[in-house]
Structure formats: C-alpha cells, structure tokens
C-alpha cells in the first residue's frame, strides 16, 4: 500500500490544488516608474502568505491591487476564480487591515466594527450580535463605546483587525500589521494572529519589511525586490536554500564567497574560492557547469569556531584571526579575519569552557569549519 501524500498543510505542493488567489503576469506602472513588474503568484486557501521586501519593492502596490485600490496596468488577478480587474474595492470578497489602521475617528469602537456589516444591509440585531462576538474575540468588549483616540496602539490594532474580520472575508490583506507596535507587543500579537488565522481558516496575505515577522507568521514567503519576486518558498526553504545573494542577505545574515566550480558530481559539488582561498565541498548536487563562476553562502550560526582544527581535511575549513567579539547573552558573534575577508560566526554560549586555553579571545588564531550540507550555492 503506497502512502498517499498529505497536502493539507502544504497545498502549493499538491499538483491538483486550485489556487485561491491567482496573480497572472501583473504589472503596475506609475508614469515611467514600474512598481510591479510582470509577476505571477499563486496563493492557496488557508495560507498565511507574506510579501517581504524593503521599501519601494512593490509589495504594497501588489497588496493594493488585490484590495482594488490600484488597477493593474496589465495582467489579471483572480480571487476564488473570478477576474477582479473590473471589480471595485467595495464589491471584492477581501478586507484589508491598513498600516495606519484607518479607524474612523468620529465613530466609537463598536460603530467602526459594525460599519462593514451595515453596508451589507444586515439586520441591526444580527449586526449587534456579530460585533459583540468579534469584540469579545479580540478582548475589547469593555471598550466598545470608546473612540479610537482613547485607545492604546495595541488596542487600536485589535479594533482594526476586528473590523476587517467581522465581514468574514475570503481573504484578509494585512499591510504591515505589527509595524506600529513595540517589540514585546509585536511578538505576542504575532502568535495571536497565527492562532486567529488557524481558527478562522481565512487566507491571509501579509505585507511586511520585517523578515523575522515573515519567518514566524508565514506558510510561505515571497521575497520582492524592484517589482519582481526574487524567491517564493516556505520560511525554511528561503532560509536554508536562498537562491540569490540578495535573498541570502535579506533573510538573516550570510557569509558569501565567490568561487569557481572545480568538480561537479551527481551528489556533490566542489567549489574553490580565491579570496579567501578555501575549498567548499557541498553534499547535494545542483545543475551547474564545471568551471563556472558562482557564489557560495554559509550562515554564521552554521560555522563552528575553535582553537583546534576539526579535521585533517582541507575542505570546509578556514583559519583566521579573531577581529571582534560581540557577547549577546545566549550567543556570541565573532568576526574573524580570514586573509583579507571578515567572516561572521555566531556561536551559542552553551557552557563555559573550563580550560582557559579554550576560551576564544581577541587576536587569537582560530579555525572555522562547517558541515558539507551547510553551505549553499547561489545562482547570482
């Protein structure tokens, strides 16, 4: 009996699944400036999908096109099988949580939340019931009569969320949902958002510039730059196997080395870099030509640092001088000068070495090494 693959948590892997939101070669131009450049994207039902990128990368424009505030210059957007190009925002099955929350300042909390339901001509008693339920869910029942300016930032964020969710949209669009909150509140709210999304089963599309936020929240992330997608994948895929230098740098930190392919086997690749001179043995095959120039990335936390060499082999090993140490509590970061290049290493402070000779100090000579599976080849 063969095992049936289970796609419920990973609908994008299912070849038969129909995407819920389909973005088809969509471009958006403002005058001569191209904000979104012919992008294709499939988002599936129940996903928490993040559009991640720096400011001006086109992520917000794409979100606004999903909401209907901007019309694509070319291309099509389908939501639940319906072409949205000629559908105005007030007729779309989506709701948006604005970055500034955009709460109506002249209305109380409950009137803000009721606004969308009243537009649909729902009976007053039903509106009242659903508003009460929604305010209870975001724990704001006792603030129902307050005006937005009488609330704290976190409370306002929850009103905005309640107002967007009360209409039970098919898709919830969130523009930097946690951007205006302080760090502690942001972490707490992240998990609340995830729980809520799981509970309601609504498809979330989140725009964010915060890679940590995207990593924690998302089922999948699309990394955007200059109006194009650099890479689309799960947080793990994007972190472990970044395709480009830009993605490797944008999501976490990475040490990157330019080198030439010297050996190309079916299950491994060897790349030699000149500066610093190092041999990278990578234990997974990739489609690359021998002799081709390429880049290799190694994450700082994948590098082991010690005063003794780890193995007799030359591959995946470097020798350098400690240039800088940053003690961060649970981890320490070392910047090691290897020939002319600074290599960053993050090492957990699991236990204090008993032998003082093993303690790494400034200007010590150290060996850096990593597993064959820890480095990745970047395409550009």
């Amino acid at each position: 009996m063969s095992k049936q693959p289970n796609y419920t948590d990973r609908p994008w892997m299912d070849p038969d699944a129909e995407p819920f939101i389909k973005v088809q070669s969509v471009s958006k131009q403002f005058g001569t400036f191209t904000a979104v450049d012919s992008v294709d994207l499939d988002i599936y039902k129940g996903e928490l999908f993040s559009l991640l990128g720096g400011s001006g990368c086109g992520k917000t424009t794409l979100l606004r096109m999903l909401a209907g505030f901007e019309t694509p210059t070319s291309g099509n957007i389908f939501i639940d099988g319906v072409n949205m190009n000629d559908v105005p925002p007030y007729e779309r099955p989506v709701n948006m949580m604005f970055q500034s929350y955009a709460l109506f300042p002249h209305m109380s909390v409950e009137k803000n939340v009721a606004y969308g339901l009243q537009r649909d001509g729902i009976a007053a008693s039903e509106v009242k019931k659903r508003v009460e339920e929604m305010l209870a869910m975001v724990e704001l029942s006792q603030f129902a009569k307050r005006k937005p300016h009488q609330l704290s930032g976190g409370q306002r964020q929850r009103v905005a969320l309640a107002r967007a969710l009360v209409k039970q949209p098919k898709v919830l669009l969130l523009d930097e949902p946690l951007g205006a909150l302080d760090k502690r509140l942001r972490e707490q709210t992240q998990f609340e958002l995830m729980n809520l999304q799981e509970q309601l089963g609504i498809t979330f599309v989140v725009v964010t510039h915060d890679q940590e936020e995207a990593m924690t929240l998302s089922t999948r992330i699309a990394v955007m730059d200059v109006g194009k997608f650099m890479q689309i994948g799960t947080p793990t895929e994007i972190y472990e196997f970044p395709e480009t230098r830009l993605v490797a740098n944008f999501i976490g930190n990475a040490n990157m080395f330019e080198g030439r392919v010297t050996e190309n086997g079916p299950d491994h690749v060897v790349i030699n870099s000149k500066n610093p001179t190092c041999e990278f043995y990578i234990d997974h095959g990739i489609s690359i030509q021998e002799g081709q120039k390429t880049w290799v990335a190694v994450r700082p936390e994948k590098i082991k640092i010690s005063k003794e060499p780890h193995s007799a082999e030359n591959a995946n090993q470097m020798k350098g001088i400690v240039h800088d140490i940053g003690y961060l509590g649970k981890v320490s970061t070392y910047r090691v000068m290897v020939q002319d290049t600074l290599v960053e290493v993050t090492s957990p402070n699991q236990s204090r070495p008993k032998d003082s000779n093993l303690i790494i100090d400034w200007d010590d000579e150290v060996y850096l090494s990593w597993d064959a599976s820890s480095s990745v080849v970047l395409s550009k």
Binding site: P89, E91, N95, S100, A102, Y115, G116, K167
Partner: protein, 310 residues
Amino acid sequence: MSTATESGLQHRLAAVLQKNWKSLIVFVPFFWLLIFFLAPFFIVFKISLSEAIIASPPFMPMIEWADEGVMRIKLVFDNFTYLWEDDLYFNTYLSSLKISSISTVLCLLIGYPMAYAIVRAQSTTKNVLLMLIILPFWTSFLLRVYAWMGLLADQGTINNLLIGMGFIDEPIRLLYTDFAVYVGIVYTYLPFMILPLYANMEKLDWTLLEAAADLGARPFTTFLTVTIPMTLPGIIAGSLLVFIPATGEYVIPDLLGGGNVLMIGRLLYNEFNANVDWPVASAVAIALLLVLVLPMMLYQHVQGKETEAS
C-alpha cells in the same frame, strides 16, 4: 547716581519684558479690541436705551443731574419693544436671515466640490487654483460689486449678449432683484467658504475613504458616512464665515437689490441717516448682534470639541 538707578530700571524693565513677552503679545490685540470693539459696543448699547430728540447728538443723555446733586439714570426699553411691535423689523430680520442662509447653502454647494478638487489636484496645479480663489481680493470689493451692476443691468452685458444671440427679445430684469443679491453675496463670500474647507480637507486622512470602500461602502455612502463627518469642522467654519457677514451685509443689497430687497444693513442705514433715529438704529444693531451671537457660540462649541478630540 541717577544714571545708576536708570540703568537698574532699564535692566528690570528688560527682565520683565523678557519674562512676559508672551502676555504682552496677547495684550496688544486685546487692548485694541477693548478700545475699538467693546467700548463702542457699550456706547451703542447705551444709545439703544435712550430716546430720540432733535438735538445734537440726537438722543437723550442717560444720566441727568437733578437738583441737589441727585443722579437720575433713565433707561428706555421702548426701542426694543418697538422692534418687536413693528412688522417691518421682524420681516427684515427674517428676510436677512433667509437671504444669508440660502447664500450660505449655495456657497457650500459650490465651494465644497471646488475645495475637494483643489485638495485632490497635483501640488503645482493646487497652488495656481488657490491663487485664483484669492485673486478677487486684489481688486476693491466695491469695484467688483459695481462690475456686477454693469453685467446685470437691463442694458448690461448679459442682457445684450442674450438679445444679440437671439435668445430673448427684451431684457430680463436681473438687477434690483433677489437674484442679483444672491449672485452678489455668493460671488463675494465664496472664497470664505472655500478656504476653511480647503484647510480642513488638506488634513483629511484619505486612507479612511479607502477603508470605507474596503468595508463595502459605495462612493456615495462613503461620502455621507465618512467624508462629510470628517469635514464637518470645515463646513461649519466656512458657513459661519459666510453667514455672519452676509446677514449684516449692506453694500450688496443696496447696490444690487435697490429698494426691493429688505435687509438689516439697509434698514440700519435708513434709521440712522434718513430717520435720524439713533436709539432705534442702535437697538436694531444690538438685536442683530444677538441674532448672530447664537451661531457664533455654536461655532465655538464645535471648535472646542474638535480640539478636545485631537
């Protein structure tokens, strides 16, 4: 020795000025208002409680000194009861309020879309449009009203044009009608409606309109439920800036309305100059002030609420 005290005094004065320059800045305009507004107001109020006589000045003094140094104060409230008893005054107030109310509404209907369009225009166009709104102030108000007389007269530009184009055979009566007064008031006071509306709309958070659309509100519903409430302070400010001066307007009804349009300003002028009844004229002025104080208090109230909210 004297120089020493002098310089000491100067130092102290400088210190006082430095400390209190803020209150000094406030004091100057307040002092101005006290001398040129509050004091005349009490003089007018005093005259309104007097009796007209043929003399100079043409009213009885309020305080009389009887024999043996006894002071007699005589207050006459007849002028105010007279205003109430004679239909003319009541009708004139009513007519004034009607004309200024309708003019205010017309200004709002014309000014609101204009202010909205200016706010939404690109910044370079915006400055040009604002300049055009302020442009009429560069010529004298009186001159502009006379220009309207030339336009509206029986042999004026508009009638000549219509006759020339064959739409009408005889000139239509435009000048010296209610219509002419409305045209004059709306034309004159439109900038006073547009500018506060513009200032208010400039601060409007346009994402609120997007939020309303996102929640399912059609453009007209969004306008009623979000745009209007958010611009209400501007609407009230603009309306009062039109309504208050329009109610007491004298030049426009006099020049464009002739004798046919009843307005307080003209009545006041007649009482004062033609009838030489200063006490009644003063009573008319005081009553007008009372009529106008009410909307002003409303404005203050709304403004207070707005600052409280922000």
